[in-house]
C-alpha cells in the first residue's frame, strides 16, 4: 500500500472509530468507494461516499457529525426487506427517535411486545415537536431497526411487526 493510501485509510479508521458505533470499514480503490457500518459479520451499511473525486484525493467520511450542536447521531439509512406475514412501520416524520416516553422511563415496546392499532411504538421529535409512531396493526414486535436518539428520515423503516 502506498504512503498516500496508508495515510488515507488510517485517517478513515480514526474517523470511523471516533463515531463509537462503527466496527466495519471497507475501502475499494478502483472508482473509489468507501463503506462503513456496524454489525460485524453482516454489516448494515451506514454510509457510502459517492464517487465524485478522483481516487488520489483525500476523502472525508460524510456521515461524521462535525458540529458540537448536533444532538442526535446522524441518519442510519437501513436496508430492510419485506418478509412474509410482517409489515414495516415507518417514521411519520424526520427527526430524532425516542424509544421511551421520557428519559429514564421504560421503552414503549421491546421485541416480543404485543401491540394493537392504537399502540405507540415510539416518538419522533423535530424542534421540540413530538409525533407518535403508531402500530396501526395488531401483532407482535419482531424487529426494532433504530436505537434511542437516532436521527431518522421521513418514512424510514422503524419496526417490523408480525401480524396476528
Amino acid at each position: 500500500m502506498s504512503d498516500d493510501w496508508l495515510e488515507l485509510v488510517t485517517e478513515l479508521l480514526e474517523a470511523a472509530s471516533e463515531r463509537g458505533d462503527v466496527d466495519y470499514l471497507e475501502v475499494v480503490k478502483g472508482d473509489l468507494q468507501i463503506r462503513f457500518g456496524r454489525g460485524g459479520a453482516t454489516p448494515r451499511e451506514i454510509g457510502t461516499l459517492p464517487t465524485t473525486r478522483p481516487a488520489t484525493e483525500r476523502v472525508v467520511a460524510p456521515a461524521v457529525a462535525s458540529s458540537p450542536a448536533t444532538a442526535a447521531t446522524p441518519s442510519v439509512p437501513v436496508a430492510v426487506g419485506e418478509r412474509d406475514g410482517t409489515i414495516l412501520v415507518r417514521s411519520p416524520m424526520v427527526g430524532t427517535f425516542y424509544r421511551a416516553p421520557a428519559p429514564g422511563e421504560s421503552p414503549f415496546v421491546e421485541i416480543g411486545t404485543s401491540v394493537d392499532r392504537e399502540t405507540t411504538l415510539g416518538l419522533v421529535e423535530a424542534m421540540k415537536i413530538f409525533t407518535a409512531i403508531k402500530a396501526d396493526v395488531d401483532g407482535v414486535v419482531e424487529e426494532i431497526f433504530h436505537q434511542n436518539s437516532d436521527f431518522v428520515e421521513f418514512e424510514e423503516p422503524m419496526f417490523r411487526i408480525r401480524l396476528k
Binding site: 462535525s66 458540529s67 416524520m93 424526520v94 423535530a126 436521527f151 428520515e153 421521513f154 418514512e155 424510514e156
Partner: protein, 455 residues
C-alpha cells in the same frame, strides 16, 4: 468557506446550488420530499439526501421544523434556501440562528420588514424613492375610502395581498363598480394562499415595464448594484422571458433606478443578494417602487451572463464573511446582452394548463452562446406537486439582436417529448416584432389572442 450546506429545495435551483457548492469544495446535503429523493437529479448529485416529508410542499419544503431538525442532525454550517418555499421566511431564518446555523440570505429582521408590502412601501418612501399612489384597503370600503381611491389613486387600480407574492391574491379593477367584489375575491384567495386576507390597493400603470435591480448587501453595510433586468414578458403576473441589461433604459433612468435600489437596500439594512423591483411607465418614463425580493431570483443567470459574476457563489462568500470576487468588487460595465426563457411543462394552446408526466426525449440545446439550467433528464417523471418549470434557456450575444438570434436557434434545437412545453410559444414571442422593438409591456401577453406557434 462553509464545510457543509443544507439545501431544502428542489428542481433546477437545487442543482444550481449544488453546482456552486461543488466548485467551492463544499459538501452538500439535500433535504428532499420522498418523490424528489427518489428520482430527482439533485438527489443524484448531492453528497447526501435526507427525506424530510411527503411530496406535498406543506409536508416537506414548507415544513420549518423538519428542515431545522435536519440541518442540526446533518451537522451543516449553513442553509441555502434557494427561491420559493421558505426562502424569504422569517421563521426559517430565525430558526437557523437559534440552532447555530447560517441562513444564506438576509437576517430575519430584514425578511420581516420586506415581507409586509405596506411596510416595504413605507421604507421606500422614507428613502425618498417614488412609490405608486396607494393605501391599505380596509374591509369596510366606506364611501369616503371609495372617494379617496378615485381622487388620490385613480383607476385602474391593482388590489394586492399585503403578505403575498407570485402574482396571487391580485385583482385588477378598472372601474369603481367592480371594486367591492374584486376585493372580496382577492381577500379570499390571499387568505387561502398566505394565511392573511389583508389587502393593499395601488395605482396600476396600464403600459408598464417591469424592471428590477440586482443588489448585494455586504457585511460592512455597503450595497453593491450588480445590474438590472427587464422582466416585462409576463402572463398573469408570472414571468416568462427576462433579459439583461434592461434594454429601454437611458443612462439617466438607469442611474435613478440603481440609486433608488441602493437607497432602499441601505434603509433596510439589507444583507446578501436581493432584487428591488420597479414599475416603469412606458408612456411617461416615470417609475415606482414595486417590492423587494429578499432572495435569489429565478432569472439570476441573465445577470451572471453579462457580468461574469457567479451570484450563488457570491451569496456563500458574503454569508460566511469570505472574499468576494474582483468582478463583484470592481464592477466593470456589463457586456453584451442575455435573454432567458422559462420553459414550463404547460400547454399554451389550452390556457397554459400544466402538463406533468414522463419525459421521453430530453435534448436541450448545446452551443457556446447558450446556457441551460435544468433538473430534467430523459425518463424523468415531472411530478404534479410543484411548479411546472422544466428548464431555463439563457442565450447571450454581443448585442441584443445577436442574443435574440442565438435564443431562436437554441429553442429550435431544443427537443422534448412526453410533455407539452412552452418552447414553441416562447420562440414565437422572441421572434416577434414587438419583442425586437422592446414594445412589450407587462399586460401585453394577457391582451393578445393566442400567438401562432413557431413565430
Amino acid at each position: 468557506m462553509y464545510r457543509r450546506v443544507l439545501i431544502p429545495n428542489r428542481g433546477e435551483i437545487a442543482v444550481r446550488i449544488i453546482k456552486a457548492c461543488r466548485e467551492l469544495g463544499v459538501e452538500t446535503v439535500l433535504a428532499a420530499s420522498t418523490v424528489d429523493a427518489e428520482s430527482s437529479l439533485a438527489a443524484r448529485l448531492a453528497g447526501r439526501v435526507i427525506r424530510i416529508g411527503g411530496p406535498r410542499p406543506a409536508e416537506s419544503y414548507l415544513n420549518v421544523a423538519a428542515i431545522l431538525a435536519t440541518a442540526k442532525a446533518a451537522g451543516v454550517d449553513a442553509v441555502h434556501p434557494g427561491y420559493g418555499f421558505l426562502s424569504e421566511d422569517r421563521r426559517l431564518a430565525e430558526g437557523c440562528r437559534q440552532i447555530g446555523v447560517e441562513f444564506v440570505g438576509p437576517p430575519p429582521e430584514v425578511l420581516e420588514k420586506v415581507g409586509n408590502k405596506a411596510t416595504a412601501r413605507r421604507i421606500a418612501e422614507m428613502a425618498g424613492v417614488p412609490v405608486a399612489p396607494g393605501r391599505l384597503l380596509s374591509p369596510e370600503l366606506s364611501t369616503d375610502l371609495l372617494k379617496v381611491i378615485e381622487s388620490e389613486i385613480g383607476y385602474p387600480v391593482l388590489i394586492k395581498a399585503v403578505h403575498g407574492g407570485g402574482g396571487r391574491g391580485m385583482r385588477l379593477v378598472t372601474s369603481p363598480a367592480e371594486l367591492r367584489s374584486a376585493a372580496a375575491a382577492a381577500a379570499a384567495e390571499a387568505s387561502a394562499a398566505f394565511g392573511s386576507g389583508d389587502l393593499y390597493i395601488e395605482y396600476f400603470v396600464p403600459r408598464a415595464r417591469h424592471i428590477e435591480v440586482q443588489v448585494l448587501g455586504l457585511d460592512t453595510g455597503e450595497i453593491l448594484v450588480l445590474g438590472d433586468r427587464d422582466c416585462s414578458v409576463q402572463r398573469r403576473h408570472q414571468k416568462l422571458v427576462e433579459e439583461a441589461p434592461a434594454p429601454t433604459l437611458n443612462d439617466e433612468l438607469r442611474k435613478c433606478l440603481h440609486d433608488s435600489a441602493r437607497d432602499i437596500a441601505r434603509s433596510l439594512g439589507y444583507r446578501n443578494a436581493g432584487t428591488v423591483e420597479f414599475v416603469v411607465d412606458d408612456a411617461t418614463g416615470e417609475y415606482f417602487f414595486l417590492e423587494v425580493n429578499a432572495r435569489l431570483q429565478v432569472e439570476h443567470p441573465v445577470t451572471e451572463a453579462v457580468t461574469g459574476i457567479d451570484i450563488v457563489r457570491t451569496q456563500f462568500e458574503v454569508s460566511c464573511g469570505g472574499e468576494v470576487s474582483p468582478l463583484v468588487r470592481d464592477q466593470p460595465p456589463s457586456r453584451g446582452s442575455a435573454i432567458e426563457c422559462r420553459i414550463n411543462a404547460e400547454c399554451p394552446e389550452q390556457d397554459f394548463r400544466p402538463s406533468p408526466g414522463c419525459l421521453g426525449k430530453w435534448r436541450p440545446p448545446m452551443s457556446g452562446c447558450v446556457r441551460v439550467d435544468s433538473h430534467c433528464y430523459g425518463g424523468y417523471v415531472v411530478p404534479p406537486y410543484y411548479d411546472s418549470l422544466l428548464a431555463k434557456v439563457v442565450a447571450f450575444g454581443a448585442s441584443r439582436t445577436e442574443a435574440i438570434e442565438n435564443m431562436l436557434e437554441a429553442l429550435d434545437a431544443f427537443q422534448v417529448e412526453g410533455v407539452d412545453t412552452t418552447i414553441g410559444w416562447q420562440r414565437g414571442l422572441v421572434a416577434s416584432d414587438q419583442f425586437a422593438t422592446t414594445s412589450i409591456h407587462t399586460r401585453w401577453v394577457d391582451d393578445q389572442p393566442l400567438m401562432p406557434a413557431g413565430g
